[in-house]
Amino acid sequence: MTTPPFLQIEEITKTFPGVVANDKVSFDVAAGEIHALLGENGAGKTTLVSTLYGLHRPDSGRIRLRGKEITLRSSRDAIALGIGMVHQHFMLVQPLTVAENIVLGMRSPREPLLSLGPASQEIERLSRTYGLEVDPAAQVWQLSVGMQQRVEIVKALYRGADLLILDEPTAVLTPQEIHELFNVLRRLKAEGHAVIFISHKLDEVMAISDRVTVLRDGRVVNTVATAGTDKAALARMMVGREVLFQFDKPPAQLGDAVLNVRDLCVMGNRRQMAVRDVSFDLRRGEILGVAGVDGNGQSELVEAIAGLRPAASGQISINGRALAAFQPSDLLDLNVAHIPQDRQRVGLVMDFSVSENLVARLFSLLPFARSGFLQWKAIRENADGRIKEFDIRAPNSEVKARSLSGGNQQKVILARELSRAPDLILASQPTRGLDVGATEFVEGRLLEQRARGAAIIYVSTELEEILSLSDRVMVLHRGEIMGMVRPGEVTEEEMGLMMAGEKRMTAQEKMEARQS
């Protein structure tokens, strides 16, 4: 008789009102294995691992650990059985220290008194063993995202986790941090831990996993050995059709400068200088990518250009018109389109209908308003046209924006913003959270606009995406330009160093790099 696999998932089904999130999902994980769960957004990966961590209960199906069937009523049960999880959005309490976060919810040896001293020693021991450097006395809010992730991993190990689940762990990391994370995972594997690694990035799955289970629409497509497959095959399984990794991008047809930014400084929400001395030009027919780890001044830069955030100093001019104090309403006159990062809170009014959202910018002008009265007929006709043109999947134009999927919500924004043939397009993470199909759509539309002669700023944290779409790439670190590079003339390694702030260009290079 053979020993059973470490973890067996058997026919797990979980439904939420109106959606089957997991449909008879089965796979197994061995001790000392890194098992990737691959799938698009909404394929059911997170639901599945939440079930595994006891956060909700499956409708049917069984979970066996070390051959024995287990029932998980809460995460407490999961922890007690040696299951640890690093959530996509870290589950850390910001004002508490690292040590406090790590012992939180555990019995203290001196119960009910806290015993942080011995705990800190144990944390330091774990840090050394696995190469996870953390300072037990630091408060979490002071730590970088990469460090917070290390705290999460130590937290799971401190609880004696044999099975570690990581939900999209690389989404927030620089390439170097990803590299370090992978080293940690390899060490965990060598120590006999089982690891479930969730991702929708094929390169990472190929690099780190032993086996891959692909999920699509809540079902398992297949489980394969990583060594016996390739990116194309995985992508086919994930999306259900052939996927083009490269699209044809004609060479840029550069026109006049549309945007000039000089010595721009912008304050962030926490009263820190979020953008420092940024200067660049942007011309018609050009896509300028803005790369960097999330939170390094990208949003503040875009918001300043969009007139949503005042510049602390420096100049911005659009089409030769220098503007001291921007008003968001100026965007209309200046013919600037803005695709905001937070599409649900900034881009759309979720409880307004699709047709209302489609005229959110123009509702006070003819033909949508006449003498101060809304012209519903014109508004609806406009909506019907856009829905067709942008392939928005909505039952009709009067449903609330809230009821649409993420991809279709983004299409509503694109339809509104791009229909006026803008001169300048500010696209902030326009593909974040979208599946492969919707991503292709968004990128295709932006390339169309580029061919038409629009100047485009394209902010993304996905390196691959930026490199394939942009004509030039600006790398930001703590609000400063670390480099202005051309895709094809730079390696991902170099980009990573710039994103981490370890490589920067000289003042001379900066001057030269301004112009396209």
């Binding site: 997170t46 939440s50 961590y53 956060l55 909700h56 809460s74 995460s75 407490r76 922890i79 999880m85 959530h87 870290f90 589950m91 850390l92 309490v93 910001q94 004002p95 508490l96 406090e100 976060n101 012992v103 939180l104 919810g105 555990m106 019995r107 203290s108 119960e111 009910p112 008194l113 806290l114 937290k155």
Partner: protein, 313 residues
């Protein structure tokens, strides 16, 4: 006039009255602080105090024993806390609206209950009161003895409790759980803390603390009860939490300031200074407003006032 004021400020009497008037406030404030740190906003302290004050009075009067009155107030405080928890924790109702409702309900209910229990007679019978407890050895000290060590037992108790609460918050696993639940309940849940249970416990305790504060007013100091007896002290207690920056020590100091102001205005009245008494009576409320103004941005726990639904994304 200046001389009178000087005389007033240096009198041990003023310090005595400050401690005496701080005590009910601080009880309520500590209760409020506890559930506030767990993320439940309790501006229902006022109503909870009223409930405790009435219960203690009626039971002490009927049973002829003030300690039974206190015991009954504890019980009623726990029940009110529990009810509030059911509404705002389990049913996730808006915490401010629910608390306002609770305050109005308690104001009416205590008025009706008072008439039902003791009738409509104007001259209410005084209830037996809690006796002063002079701390042996210390109460005899010259000058400070009678000022600091000849109070109701609750006066000493509340200062001990403030210290105990600081210890619990920062030195025990319970306190860590409470702080985590108030800041990030979802994170707390993922490490196996029962968020709902923590919130229930702290809200029930806040009810008990506030009720004791109210009971001290009725059978500790006044020996009677009248409608609206607390006169906004529950709200002042709530302000003390904010002014005290959500820490036990800060809350203690803020309560002392408010208690001092109240004591001061009473003394000024007693000294017969020629200021219309109406101006003096509003003094504590004005100081409360000023304090909140001065406090500026006192940041509460991140999840304060937000209902939590376990297990939902």
């Amino acid at each position: 006039m200046l001389e009178t004021l000087q005389q007033l400020l240096w009198s041990g009497d003023l310090i005595y009255a400050t401690l005496r008037l701080t005590t009910p406030l601080l009880f309520a404030a500590l209760g409020g602080l506890m559930c506030e740190r767990a993320g439940v906003l309790n501006i229902g302290l006022e109503g909870m105090m009223l409930g405790g004050a009435l219960t203690a009075y009626v039971v002490a009067l009927r049973m002829g024993n003030p300690w039974l009155g206190i015991l009954a107030a504890l019980f009623v405080g726990a029940i009110t806390g529990l009810l509030f928890a059911v509404v705002v924790v389990t049913f996730r109702a808006n915490q401010i609206v629910s608390a306002v409702g609770m305050n109005i309900l308690m104001l009416g209910l205590t008025g009706v209950a008072l008439r039902a229990a003791v009738g409509l007679s104007i001259g209410q019978s005084p209830a037996p009161t809690i006796p002063i407890w002079e701390i042996p050895g210390l109460a005899g000290l010259p000058l400070i003895g009678p000022v600091l060590f000849a109070h109701l037992p609750f006066v000493y108790l509340v200062f001990v409790l403030a210290g105990a609460m600081a210890f619990i918050f920062y030195r025990t696993t319970w306190g860590l759980a409470i702080r985590a639940v108030g800041e990030n309940p979802r994170a707390a849940e993922t490490v196996g803390i029962d968020v709902i249970r923590v919130r229930y416990a702290t809200v029930v305790w806040s009810g008990i603390f506030a009720a004791v504060g109210g009971a001290i007013l009725s059978i500790g100091y006044l020996n009677t009860f009248q409608e609206g007896l607390t006169a906004g002290r529950g709200f002042i207690a709530f302000s003390a939490i904010i002014f005290g920056r959500y820490t036990p020590l800060g809350t203690l100091l803020a309560s002392l300031l408010f208690g001092f102001t109240d004591a001061l205005q009473l003394r000024i009245q007693a000294f017969g200074v020629q200021i219309p008494y109406q101006f003096l009576v509003v003094l504590p409320y004005i100081v409360t407003l000023l304090a909140l103004f001065v406090a500026g941005r006192s940041k509460g726990p991140a999840a304060s006032g937000l209902p939590y639904a376990p297990g939902e994304e």
